[in-house]
């Protein structure tokens, strides 16, 4: 056993012991439904004290952001350590102490593109769950054409004046701050002239309106900007180079969405769920063959996620190939829920039947292949940028 391997084995034992000692027992092994997620932020109320306690302890150890530097409230883990941490969390049934767009999206962007003041100001509030962020990319009518940004920020000397409208801003009605793409040069080509701006949602002139989805839920909002004054210091990275940050985050988001098979499933595969259900639904050769196919594809895709993460870690960038993870992962997730609905039969079509929130989750998965870049855009990216297929 090499030294590195030995160190990791030690780390595994330590972290497992820490989780066991610190995660309140009532939280262990609970299904990860919507209500079990801790999002944090000014408006947040914990559903119980255990959640609060677990968050506080994780914050103290830096484990809300395991790989971020310790100075910003992270734990400074290596990729291998982080993987072990997540494995042990899953094995012990401990829920993530905190989830947020700050952790997933803004933090990585600031770590890469932010200046020291911005990092010091925003990152600790994210790791401590004090500020909840939302993302302002899409605009009405622009759809997949993200670079078609019409919301404009005018340079008024001592501040930016923002006017326009965003759509698909996740939980904007519950978020404290927004990171958004705004147009700062209207004469430049589409992908130039975009900047990356941070705004406090309490700034006068910002209003939000939830969008009701086909699942009956409203996780997204429309967000309106009417003469919103934003400090000049809230611009991240270079002026008019916001598209670079957006691309960086899109790649990041794709990997994340591609890997997502959370929700009702928890860590379980569809086959495990079906095998545990009453009545032998898999006696039907059609459903059985589909389940086998899904199992085969999901196992292979899980390995692929690991391989790509290892590759990114090894410093060999994943780049445009992340489009594949997003494409494959989201299509797989849709198949997963189609199969669950098919096996649930008439019980599955109730909004609140014996299978709990299956129907809304099923409908929710239909957005997987749209948000963060549609399946069609991902295939275009693979064809044009990975395979270098011609335009004419």
């Amino acid at each position: 056993m090499s030294d590195a391997t030995e160190d990791l084995a030690g780390f595994r034992a330590d972290i497992a012991a820490w989780i066991s000692a610190n995660c309140p027992a009532p939280l262990l092994g609970r299904p990860m439904d919507e209500n079990a997620i801790v999002w944090g932020g000014r408006k947040w109320t914990f559903t119980d004290d255990n959640q609060r306690l677990w968050l506080e302890r994780a914050v103290a150890r830096g484990l809300t952001a395991p790989r971020w530097p310790v100075e910003y409230g992270g734990a400074g883990l290596t990729r291998a350590q982080e993987k072990i941490y997540r494995e042990e969390m899953e094995r012990l049934g401990a829920p993530p102490p905190l989830e947020s767009f700050g952790l997933w999206m803004l933090g990585p962007a600031l770590l890469e593109f932010g200046n020291p003041e911005q990092k010091a100001e925003h990152l600790p509030k994210i790791t401590r769950g004090q500020i909840r962020w939302c993302q302002g990319y899409s605009e009405p009518g622009a759809g997949s054409d993200l670079a078609n940004v019409q919301t404009r920020a005018e340079d008024m000397g001592d501040h930016w004046l923002v006017n326009g409208q965003k759509i698909w801003t996740s939980y904007a009605d519950r978020a404290d701050w927004i990171f958004a793409l705004v147009r700062t040069d209207r004469d430049a080509p589409k992908h130039k002239g975009i900047s990356f701006l941070l705004m406090d949602m309490e700034t006068p002139g910002i209003t939000t309106r939830p969008i009701r989805l086909i699942s009956g839920k409203s996780p997204f909002c429309e967000t309106f900007f009417d003469n919103v004054k934003v400090p000049k210091t809230n611009l991240v990275g270079e002026l008019n180079r916001g598209w670079d940050i957006a691309k960086y985050l899109l790649t990041h988001e794709r990997e994340m969405i591609g890997g997502g098979a959370r929700g009702l499933l928890g860590g379980r595969s569809v086959s495990q769920i079906l095998a545990s259900q009453e009545g032998d639904v898999l006696a039907d050769p059609v459903l059985r063959a589909e389940t086998m196919q899904l199992e085969v594809d999901a196992l292979a895709f899980g390995l692929t996620m690991e391989r790509y993460k290892d590759q990114a870690e090894a410093g060999r960038g994943v780049g445009n190939a992340s489009a594949m993870l997003k494409y494959y992962g989201t299509e797989l997730n849709k198949r997963r829920y189609e199969l669950l609905m098919a096996t649930a039969g008439s019980e599955g079509v109730e909004w609140d039947g014996p299978h709990g929130g299956l129907a809304p989750e099923w409908l929710r998965t239909k957005a997987n292949s749209i948000e963060g870049g549609t399946t069609e855009v991902m295939l275009d990216i693979i064809a044009k940028r990975v395979l270098e297929m011609p335009n004419q």
Partner: protein
């Protein structure tokens, strides 16, 4: 299927019926009507049902001597298809197709019931499945004999139109065990009968579905349709008619979703061009259209065979339902995906198609069930 099968082309009468139905439904039951029903918390609009009765649709399968139009199963399929295009909600399938098909074989006693259906005065629900999958023989609900009467006890899990129908066709076990084909008896009872608890289910298609709990509900020999212990035979015409009409509805639904999507693709611009000009979307739209065309043939065939050779229609009916379930699934998947974000919003209609397609795929037997029926009939 058989070299004597009549042509699958619509006759002149059928073309006229389809045109008339499409016009009427566009006016009186567009998708916005389903939305209005849903928002008002009602499963369907009685005024629409009254209009359908006026036009003779409620009597589409009722003999003329009972006041029906007796247009036949192909006609019922055409009406169902047109209703499917806009997701028009009504008790048509449960009442005018399933119940009417069961009752017209039930002899003179059912004359009044058929008259009431044709007149739009009676509505029916079929209380059949007790688990999440279509399985008539699995019926366990007991009809216990007490002298000349029966006491029905048990639960039906998923009854379409179950909370609003005036009458219930219920399949109950009078002998044998759950799983036996024999020993089942079909009763036709008033939904208001004591001991019957109707629990409305909140389902994704915003239609009327209910769980029915029978707690010693009384029935007599007069309530039996067909023969004691041979209820599956009495039910078969209704089941086949219902499966064929539901398949037609799903095919109409697929066509409706495809048409809305095609309109969107021709209209919507992105990346400085109409998205319908992207070849990848064109090929997928063309494939979807092909699937709908092929399924439409199976729908027409099922209607024709039910009209002309009902004893041999089993394969055709299962073929129609199997194809329709898959085609509708493809259509709504493509429709929602091609609409992008807007299709995910409740404000857009396309989500309604996806929800109804899922319910329709399950009800009266899913793809796997009907594919297995076909395999058995084809000897493998």
């Amino acid at each position: 299927m058989n070299d004597m099968t009549p042509s699958l082309l619509d006759t002149e009468d059928e073309v006229m019926l389809r045109d008339a139905a499409r016009g009427f439904i566009a006016d009186f039951a567009p998708v916005s009507a389903l939305r209005a029903n849903r928002d008002a918390g009602r499963a369907h609009d009685p005024a629409l049902w009254a209009e359908m009765a006026q036009m003779g649709w409620t009597g589409v399968l009722v003999p003329e001597d009972a006041g029906g139009a007796d247009m036949g199963h192909r006609a019922a399929g055409i009406l169902s298809e047109e209703m499917g295009r806009t997701l028009a909600a009504s008790p048509f399938l449960s009442t005018a197709v399933i119940a009417a098909s069961v009752l017209r074989d039930a002899g003179p006693r059912a004359h009044g019931a058929l008259q009431a259906i044709a007149a739009g005065e009676a509505t029916y629900a079929l209380a059949l499945d007790e688990g999440p999958k279509f399985a008539p023989a699995a019926t366990a609900l007991q009809a216990e004999r007490q002298g000349n009467a029966f006491r029905l006890s048990g639960a039906k899990a998923f009854v379409a139109d179950g909370s609003t129908a005036g009458r219930i066709l219920v399949l109950a076990r009078t002998s044998g065990m759950a799983g036996d084909d024999a020993g089942l008896t079909l009763f036709d009872i008033d939904a208001a009968r004591a001991g019957l608890d109707r629990q409305t289910l909140s389902t994704i298609d915003s239609r009327d579905h209910a769980r029915l709990v029978f707690d010693g509900v009384e029935a007599t020999g007069d309530d039996i349709i067909g023969d004691l212990d041979n209820g599956l035979a009495a039910l078969r015409p209704g089941l086949q008619a219902g499966q064929a009409a539901l398949a037609a509805e799903l095919t109409g639904l697929a066509g409706g979703a495809a048409a809305i999507t095609l309109g969107y693709l021709k209209d919507r611009r992105q990346f400085d061009r109409t998205i319908g000009s992207f070849q990848a979307l064109q090929h997928r739209a063309a494939h979807l259209w092909s699937e709908i065309e092929v399924t439409a043939s199976a729908i027409a065939n099922a209607g024709r065979l039910l009209d002309h050779m009902p004893a041999d229609a089993g394969l055709a009916v299962s073929l129609a339902k199997a194809r329709a379930a898959q085609t509708a699934k493809l259509a709504v998947s493509e429709a929602v995906q091609m609409h992008g974000g807007i299709g995910m919003t409740d404000a857009h209609d396309i989500g309604f198609f996806m929800k109804r397609a899922r319910v329709g795929a399950e009800w009266l037997g899913d793809y796997g069930h009907h594919a297995a029926v076909i395999a058995a009939l084809r000897g493998f």
